[in-house]
């Protein structure tokens, strides 16, 4: 059986056109873009073209606002640290409880460095309270950073509105758009967003290439100083092959944007309805009205996600779990916890994230595969009996915990 890949929020396959465009930059086009000779200048031209492709996908006003770097994590760290360095008298950062660890771990460390961090809470559907947000905006805030789309649930934040609100108070606004770019139409020049992070490997470009968009006239301090690459805003010889690949991927993303929001979305909706229609005690996490077109996060109550993933994997189906038991940390997902999802459901949450490479047939295969997997694990579950949960399961099984 052909494997079925539905973990595109973790990473995506490189588009063959991306790989083809990159290959010459490992062989004959090996030059350093900074060199005067023709080996270098050809590469320089290719980088310029890629910069234009990224600019176009983001709707940025100038191509000089695109700063290539190594990954989404670097872009996030650069944005926040830059804002703090550029405004040393401001020591407060506003972010949200459901950000990626690229932001949250950094903020945790910043607190040790005497910064104040406000993490905006979310409701049961993962939505922010904009009144709470407004009440926190003041002239001690160095930067607001809020993700455009959540990687676990796909829930979208109203970042354009949030950027306006920050801007009105003279506060720079950054968004981690790693999951949104390529799936959500973005036109930065019409917004007040000052900085935006993206990562190549989430949109069919390679891993290890990222971009920080920095709006013209944003006060900026580089993370890495050295050569004059990226106009001195990110030193280090350019990863030319990956930049070219990212450029092509951005071109393709623009071309497939409609398909992403029609075809892929329909596949996701069919998958979700198909599974919910045949598995009881299951529900969708997040804001289903306002989310990425490719993502569904489904909680299967009274079973644990890793078991589901192992059994799905046995059938060649790749998804990921909301209980981070699989990801090296054992804590249940901080996103689901922030949404106050009961732990018997948070632990059994599976994220399916699709791409334009998925087919209707694959979706039907997954719909058929999931119910027996859940049934098998529920048979092992102390919360379950026969075809249904025990009456008042949380009381029927109340283990001592250590």
């Amino acid at each position: 059986m052909q494997p079925i890949y539905m973990d595109n929020n973790a990473t995506t396959a490189c588009d063959p056109a991306v790989v083809a465009a990159m290959l010459p930059y490992f062989t004959e086009q090996f030059g350093n873009a900074s060199s005067i000779h023709s080996f270098g200048s050809r590469v320089g031209k290719a980088l310029k073209e890629a910069r234009g492709q990224v600019q176009s996908l983001l709707g940025a006003a100038h191509d000089s606002e695109i700063v290539f770097n190594s990954c989404g994590t670097e872009a996030d760290a650069t944005a926040i640290l830059s804002a703090l360095k550029a405004n040393p008298e401001r020591r407060t950062v506003i972010t949200t409880t459901v950000e990626h660890p690229a932001i949250l771990s950094l903020c945790q460390w910043l607190e040790k460095e005497d910064c104040v961090v406000h993490r905006l809470r979310v409701d049961g559907k993962g939505r922010l309270d904009l009144d709470e947000y407004a009440s926190l905006l003041n002239d001690r805030v160095a930067i607001v950073s809020a993700m455009w789309a959540n990687n676990e649930t796909g829930t979208l934040f109203p970042v354009e509105e949030m950027a306006e609100m920050a801007h009105a108070q003279g506060i720079p606004f950054h968004t981690d758009a790693v999951q949104a770019v390529g799936k959500v139409a973005i036109d930065l020049k019409k917004t007040k967003i000052d900085m935006l992070s993206l990562s190549g490997h989430k949109l069919h470009a390679p891993k290890g290439i990222g971009v920080l968009y920095v709006r013209r006239n944003t006060r900026f301090r580089p993370l890495l100083r050295g050569g004059h690459q990226e106009r001195g805003r990110r030193a280090g010889t350019e990863n030319s092959a990956s930049i070219v690949g990212l450029g092509v991927a951005c071109g393709l993303a623009q071309q497939y944007m409609r398909e992403e929001n029609t075809t892929v979305k329909r596949l996701r909706d069919r998958l979700e309805r198909g599974i919910l229609g045949s598995v009881r005690n299951a529900f969708v996490n997040g804001d289903t009205l306002y989310r990425l077109p490719n993502t569904t996060s489904i909680a299967f109550e009274y079973v644990e996600g890793e078991g589901i993933l192992l059994l799905l994997n046995q059938q060649g189906i790749a998804a990921s779990s909301g209980s981070a038991c699989t990801s090296g940390s054992l804590e249940p997902s901080h996103v689901l916890r922030a949404m106050a999802i009961p732990y018997t459901a948070a632990h059994g949450t599976i994220r399916f994230s699709l791409s334009r490479y998925n087919t209707a047939q694959e979706v039907e295969q997954v719909i058929a595969a999931v119910p027996p997997v859940i049934a098998k694990l529920r048979k092992l579950s102390p919360y379950w009996s026969g075809d249904a949960p025990l009456a008042r399961p949380e009381e029927a099984f109340r283990p001592d915990y250590a």
Binding site: K112, Y302, V303, E304, G305, E306, G307, L309, L310, L311, N313, Q314, S323, C325, T326, G328, L330, E331, P332, Y343, T344, H347, K379, L380, S381, P382, Y383, S385, F397, R398, P399, D400, Y401, A402
Partner: protein
């Protein structure tokens, strides 16, 4: 995904003894707060002989939690209660050909559920005294609770002291930032590290600043290093003795609590790291089974 042994996978895909047990006369429910996994262990004990005639489980948890539960029931069936209580969590892990350090708590959970079930059968009340915290040091599988308690009890000030008392931080050193955080949290400040005369760094073979040792010096150094480590192990009622040196392979005997303790694999890993560092060459530390197995 985790690097599970074939045995873990096999017990997960085909769990033995799962589901409710009719006529159970001892039940233990136990969970690990750290990851939210929990299991119910049910025993049917012969009141005449105290032999566990049957054991079944129900588990809400990850692959290794289910595999550990399955292994536990297989191990204890046919044993008397007293025999069963001697089963350690390492026995469960060994039965499964090992568990990743992050997942050792699954075997601990199984062992605690067993104690709870036996107490239930005997009509005793059972209080668990086991506390778990975030895993800090992966080399030695040591968590926050263990480090905090040891730092407090012994007024430790530096990472070196923490490593001497708990082994945490004595391996790859990647966990040092987290250990410093714990020291600051407990002591309110970070004391300066002792400056020791620098030893040569971990050497790949033939590093120029590491003079080549004569055979005699090499053996002496191995012995000295093991002597340094022994007090730590003895504190946990274990011990290590050198048995044989054969080129890169150094054979040791772990005894007492170390043999079959939760950290055996990690202990060996730590000893190996330490020896490799002091010798300036890569060596492999291999356990030799003691003659009598407890």
């Amino acid at each position: 995904m985790w690097d599970y042994s074939d045995k873990v996978r096999e017990h997960f895909f085909n769990p033995r003894n799962s589901g409710p047990l009719d006529g159970a006369n001892g039940t233990g429910d136990f969970g690990s707060i750290k990851c939210g996994d929990a299991l119910r262990l049910m025993l049917r004990v012969n009141p005449e002989t105290e032999v566990i005639d049957d054991a079944r489980f129900q588990t809400f948890g990850c692959g290794s939690a289910i595999a550990s539960s399955s292994a536990l029931t297989e191990i204890i069936k046919g044993k008397t209660l007293d025999e069963a209580l001697r089963v350690s969590n390492q026995d469960i892990a060994d039965y499964l050909d090992g568990l990743p350090p992050e997942k050792m708590h699954c075997s601990v959970m199984g062992r605690e559920a067993l104690q709870a079930a036996v107490a239930d059968y005997r009509g005793e009340s059972w209080k668990d005294d086991h506390e778990e915290g975030e895993l800090i040091c992966k080399c030695f599988a040591i968590d926050t609770v263990m480090i905090e308690d040891t730092v407090r009890a012994n007024s430790l000030r530096t990472i070196e002291e923490v490593a001497n008392y708990t082994k945490a931080g004595g391996g790859c050193s990647a966990c040092h930032e987290k250990i410093e955080d714990i020291l600051i949290a407990v002591n309110g400040r970070l004391y300066a590290r002792e400056v020791k005369p620098t030893r040569a760094p971990v050497a790949s073979s033939g590093t120029p600043d590491m003079p080549k040792l004569t055979n005699y010096q090499r053996i002496r150094r191995i012995e000295e290093t093991l002597e340094e480590i022994r007090p730590l192990l003895q504190r946990e009622h274990g011990d290590v003795t050198l048995v044989e040196i054969d080129g890169r392979n150094i054979y040791v005997e772990l005894s007492g609590a170390c043999q079959g303790c939760a950290m055996q694999a990690a202990t060996l890993g730590g000893v190996q790291q330490k020896l490799s560092e002091t010798l300036g060459e890569l060596v492999q530390v291999l356990p030799i089974a003691p003659l009598v197995r407890a």
